[in-house]
Amino acid sequence: MANIRLSNISKRFGNTDVLNGIDLDINDREFVTLVGPSGCGKSTLLRILAGLESADTGTVSIDDTDVTRIRPADRNLSMVFQSYALYPHLSVAQNMLTPLKLRDLSFPQRLPLIGPLLAKTEYKTLYQQIKNTAQILKIENLLDRKPGQLSGGQRQRAALGRAMVRDPLAFLMDEPLSNLDAALRVHMRSELTQLHQRLRATFVYVTHDQSEALTMSDKMAVMMKGKILQYGPPDEVYHNPQTIDVARFIGSPAINIIPGSTDETGCVSLFGKSLETHVSYPHSTLHIGLRPEHLSLSENNGNSFPGIIRHIENLGSDLFYHLETEGMSQRIVVRSSQSEGKRLPLGSLTYFKAQKNKLLIFGESGNRLTVKSQKLAEVA
């Protein structure tokens, strides 16, 4: 197992910059997710780490050794592909045997027919390894089948098996769950997390799905337009986004971004109401981020804002009200738990309030502004 360090990685395809001076440190045994919208360069970064693609500038080091000029086969990493890339003409067991064979056996031992006769004991240990891996993944009964005879989830396991069967320095996964149906995806999330704990290996996981990143990883790197915008534990990224793009991308339903402004003292006001929160930028326009769970319906009083209910999203445990407010084209989403009782009808006027200590304040350029002083008591 190993730590991985990417420094100053850049890559261009023709005239487009795909990656722009990426630096990333991954510690031993960490589960790191690269997450971002499609086209942000996350898959390219993973392929550069694997060695399948070469970077224009920068270095890749694994276990404190520079491997930038070393070919993928010699980096001792294993990879699970989005399409699984199982060899369709080989059974699951033979698929899993391939990496072992190519690495552990000599050329004559790999020959068909003669090979197994020459190296009986070697083959026996290899098959034992396959069996053990199959046991962990619960695919022992599928070992004789060809990939074409497997369902999506079974193929996914077979691909994992091929990656796991030898002891690589790190596992690289390129959107491995995106071809599965929703229920299986959620199930495989927890299985992968358990597998990571069990193997105690370094995992680098690429996904466009922010919920996968939040649920599975020790650390996540949010990437956009060839840059890492923020790198940290999921809680930190969720509650403390450094830019408005990160705040928008992470979280479902998405964060509400409401225009705000400051007066001459730097006091922030929202919909014309002072929030008694100060930043050090007087007389400027701001973006104020508020997650749906930090907003709640309330009575009409001095601290609440009016809105008309235009849409209700029922998730069973929670209700999300989409409210139309004056002066905003975007609707504001407010969470309300089912137990709060009364369900308001569509089109009715209601009021909502915000938890002030949860305000995320961004400047015009999209960077996070620190709050100077705040009256903490929630005025409701």
């Binding site: 086969a73 592909f81 003409h89 080989l90 990496p99 190519l102």
Partner: protein, 306 residues
């Protein structure tokens, strides 16, 4: 129960055409092969298996099978191998791929009968470019090779008119003409191989190009190969125009290039022996049928991955 009969009407034209231009002629040929019918005769006598007996006993027909089998078993493996090799090489090029594709495909598009005339000049024993080129090499190290020294001393082979060389020379031209077609089929097969499989092979430790070929390219080309081999077999069994152009009379030196299609043409058309011609047709059909069955079986058994 009122069931619509529209489906019968919709199928009828196709069924009728198939019956008229495929099934009936085959059975007509089968019927004729048991007679001694000649075109223009009012009637014919039933001769039983006599025609088939001739085909499998007379030396002329033994030569026919010999020439056909030599031609087919030289041309098929070499055109398939060269087709695959050329396709792999072109695929690995970053530039000029299209140029090479065109060059290799030109002979396929050209009329073989016209090309045969060009080759006849090239192989001409005295004025042909091949032997005159070979003569340039006399007196050099090449003479250490016994065959070459012999050629310098007496003459170089008469290629097309020497019975030891004729069938191989014709096979050479067949290869030259045919492998471009296989190359195009293989190029199509190569583009359908998912790129991720090569990435997976690399991650699995397949370092040499041979290992990647064995692990990914060759198995993934399985269906293409079965098709290419079958089509090459059928095309080689059908070789005719070249033989007709080189040897309008009698199928080459001591009938060494007397291939099946030419025999069929000579007996059935030139000599008006429809009975024996039909019998050769039936034997030919059986060969093609067997090949097709083997192909179907291979496709189902070995290369049906999904």
């Amino acid at each position: 129960m009122s069931q619509s009969r529209v489906h019968l009407w919709l199928m009828a034209p196709a069924l009728l055409l198939m019956l008229l231009i495929l099934i009936i002629p085959i059975f007509a040929a089968l019927g004729l092969s048991f007679t001694n019918y000649s075109l223009g005769n009012s009637g014919a006598n039933f001769v039983g298996l006599q025609n088939y007996e001739q085909i499998f006993t007379r030396t002329t027909y033994q030569k026919m099978f010999g020439a056909t089998i030599r031609y087919v078993f030289v041309v098929v493996p070499i055109t398939v191998g060269l087709g695959l090799g050329a396709a792999l090489l072109i695929k690995s090029l970053t530039r000029f791929g299209d140029l090479y594709k065109t060059i290799y495909f030109l002979p396929v598009m050209a009329a073989l009968i016209a090309m045969a005339i060009v080759w006849e000049f090239a192989f001409h024993p005295t004025i042909g470019i091949i032997n005159s080129t070979l003569e340039q090499g006399c007196g050099t190290v090449l003479e250490n090779w016994g065959w070459y020294a012999n050629g310098c001393e007496r003459t170089f082979p008469l290629w097309l008119t020497d019975r030891n060389y004729a069938i191989w020379t014709v096979a050479f031209i067949g290869i030259w003409q045919g492998f471009g077609f296989n190359m195009v089929l293989y190029l199509a097969g190569l583009t359908s191989i998912p790129k991720e499989l090569y990435s997976a092979a690399e991650m699995d430790g397949a370092k040499s190009s041979w290992e990647r070929f064995r692990l990914v390219t060759w198995p993934m080309l399985g269906p293409t190969t079965v098709f290419v081999v079958t089509i090459s077999f059928i095309r080689s069994f059908q070789v005719f125009d070249m033989v007709e152009a080189f040897y309008p009379q009698g199928g080459g030196p001591s009938k060494s290039v007397y291939v099946m299609m030419f025999a069929l043409y000579e007996k059935g058309i030139q000599q008006n022996l429809m009975g024996i011609g039909a019998a050769i047709t039936v034997v030919f059909l059986v060969f093609v049928m067997l090949l097709t069955i083997v192909q179907r079986w291979l496709v189902d058994k070995r290369t049906h991955y999904v």
